[in-house]
C-alpha cells in the first residue's frame, strides 16, 4: 500500500481518488479538505514540502503539492481541482513556513488565492502588474513598463512613450 492509499484509509471523506504521478503516489483531495489532508500527511511523516505547482487547464485550475518524508524516504503528491471562476484554496503557511513564498509565487504567476496566507502579495512581479502570466488567457501583446515612483515604489503602466529607449 502506497502513501496515497494510506491517506485515503485515514481520511476516506477527504480523498477523492488515488493514483500515480508517473512514479510517485498521488491523491486527489477535495478542495475544502486540503488543510486537513495536508495536516494528516505531516503527521504521517511527510515533513518536506518540496514544491507547489499551479496549472491553468482553461476550464479549471489544478494545484499540486509535492511532499517528501525524510524518515521514510517516500514521496507523496496531493492535488486539488479548483473552479476557474473562483480559484481559492486554503493556505498551508500554518504547517510549513516554506509554503509562504511558494504560495506567493503561485498567486503572482497563476493567480490562485490562498485563504489565510498572512501576506499574499506579488513576489516576482511588481505590485500593480496586470494579469497573471502563466494563465493561458494572459495577454502577451500588451507591453507593460515599470518605473520608479516618487516614493520609491514601482509604478506599472502600459504607456512606454516617456521611457528612455533606444529607437
Amino acid at each position: 500500500m502506497n502513501a496515497a492509499e494510506e491517506l485515503k484509509n485515514l481520511l476516506p471523506g477527504s480523498v477523492v481518488s488515488t493514483g500515480l504521478q508517473l512514479n510517485k503516489p498521488m491523491a486527489v483531495i477535495k478542495k475544502e479538505e486540503l488543510l486537513k489532508a495536508a495536516g494528516k500527511a505531516k503527521e504521517m511523516g511527510f515533513d518536506h514540502l518540496s514544491v507547489i505547482t499551479g496549472i491553468d487547464y482553461k476550464d479549471h485550475f489544478e494545484v499540486i503539492y509535492n511532499f517528501f518524508s525524510y524518515n521514510k524516504k517516500q514521496n507523496l503528491a496531493l492535488k486539488v481541482n479548483l473552479d476557474h471562476d473562483k480559484p481559492e484554496v486554503e493556505s498551508l503557511t500554518g504547517l510549513w513556513n516554506g509554503a509562504d513564498w511558494l504560495e506567493r509565487e503561485t498567486f503572482d504567476l497563476v493567480g490562485i488565492k490562498f485563504i489565510g496566507h498572512p501576506n499574499l502579495v506579488r513576489i516576482l512581479l511588481p505590485d500593480g502588474w496586470n494579469g497573471h502570466p502563466l494563465r493561458k488567457d494572459y495577454d502577451m501583446n500588451t507591453e507593460q513598463f515599470v518605473t520608479i515612483g516618487e516614493n520609491g515604489d514601482d509604478v506599472v503602466s502600459t504607456d512606454g512613450t516617456n521611457l528612455l529607449r533606444r529607437k
Binding site: 508517473l22 524516504k73 503528491a77 510549513w96 513556513n97 516554506g98 516576482l124 511588481p126 502563466l134
Partner: protein, 382 residues
Amino acid sequence: MESDELLINMGPVHPSTHGVLRFKLRMDGESIRECTPVLGHLHRGTEKIGEMKTYLQFIPYTDRLDYISAFPNNYAFVKAVEELAGIEVPLRAEYIRVLTMELNRIVNHLVSIGSLLMDLGAATMIMWGFRERENALQLFEMLCGARMTFNYIKPGGVREDIPDGFMPKLNEFLKDMEKRIDDYEQLINGNEIFHMRMKNIGVISAKDAVNYGWTGPTLRGSGVDYDLRKYEPYSIYPDLDFKVCVRNEGDSFARFIVRMDEMRESLHILRQVVDNMPASKEISSAKYGIAPMTGTPTAVSSYFPRIFTPPPGEVYSRIEAPKGELGFYVVSDGTTKPYRVKIRSPSFCNLTAIPSLVTGLKIPDLIAAFGTIDVVLGDVDR
C-alpha cells in the same frame, strides 16, 4: 536603551547580494529588527518561455537559471523529459553527465566560498578560487565549446563525446585540486577572525530548516543527513562510493565546512568516474539521441527527431544540484511543447528563511549568513 527606527535599503546593486537582490531593513540602532527581501529584479519569465518553446529549444534557457552551475540545470530538465518519454540513456553518457555535474559542483563551491570570504573582507580566497575555476572552465570549453552556458546534456545522452586530450587534463586538475583544498583549509579554517564572524551566526535548527524547505548543503549544515544522490539515487550514483557530509551546529560555519567537505567528496567521485568510464563510444540513445560525431558538425543535431512528442502525462523530477534540490515539474499534453514547466529552484526556497535567520543580528552578520546560503539571483527570480 530606546533608539529611533531607521530604514536602510540594501541593494539591489550591492556586491554582497550576489546579483540583484534588495533587502529592506528596519534597524533598531545597529541590530536588524525586520528584514524584507524584495525579489524579481532578474525575473525573465522562464516558465512562460518554457510553454512557448519545444522541449529541445528550452534546454538553453535552463542554463541561465543558476549560471554558476549550469550542467545540473540541463540535467534536471532533461531527466524530467526522459522520465516522461521513457528514454533509455547509454552508460557512457551517464558517466559523462555525472563527470560534468560533479566538476560543476566544485566550481560552484569555489565561487560560493570565494565570494563569501570576499564579503567578509578577505580577498585572497576569491583569487585562489577563480584560479582553479578557470582550469575547470577550460575543461568545460574543451568538452562543449562553452564556459558557462553549455546546452550540452540532451534527452537521450550528451551532445558530443569527450575530446582527445581531455582526460589527461582532467587528471591533472584532480591532482592539483587535492592540494589546493588543503591550502584553502590552511588559509581559512584556523583563522580566528573568520571563526568569530561565522560561529553562532544565523543558527537554524534541523526542524526549522526542514520546515522552511531548506535543501542541499544548507540543510546538511543543520544536521539532517539527506542527499538525493544517496537516498533517491539517479543516473549512476548508486554505483559510486561517496559519503554525505553533515554538520550538526546549524550555523554559518557549519554550512561553510559542509561545502569544503563536499568538494573533497566530488573529487573522490570524479576519480571513480574517470577509472570506470565505459570504453564504448555510444553517447546517446539509438532512438532519441544525437548520433556521434561523424566529421561534419551539421550531422550532430540533425539526428534528434524534429517532431518530438512525449506521451501526455506529468512528472516531478528532482536532483541534488550544488545549491540543493532542483526540480522540474513538466506537464505534457502530447504536443511538441510542454503544457507547463514549473521550476523548483533551490536558491528561491533556501532564501525563504533569511528574514527569520537574521532578525536581531547586525548588518555584517546578515552578509555572513546570506553568503553561506549561497544563492544565485538568476535561480531565485527565474
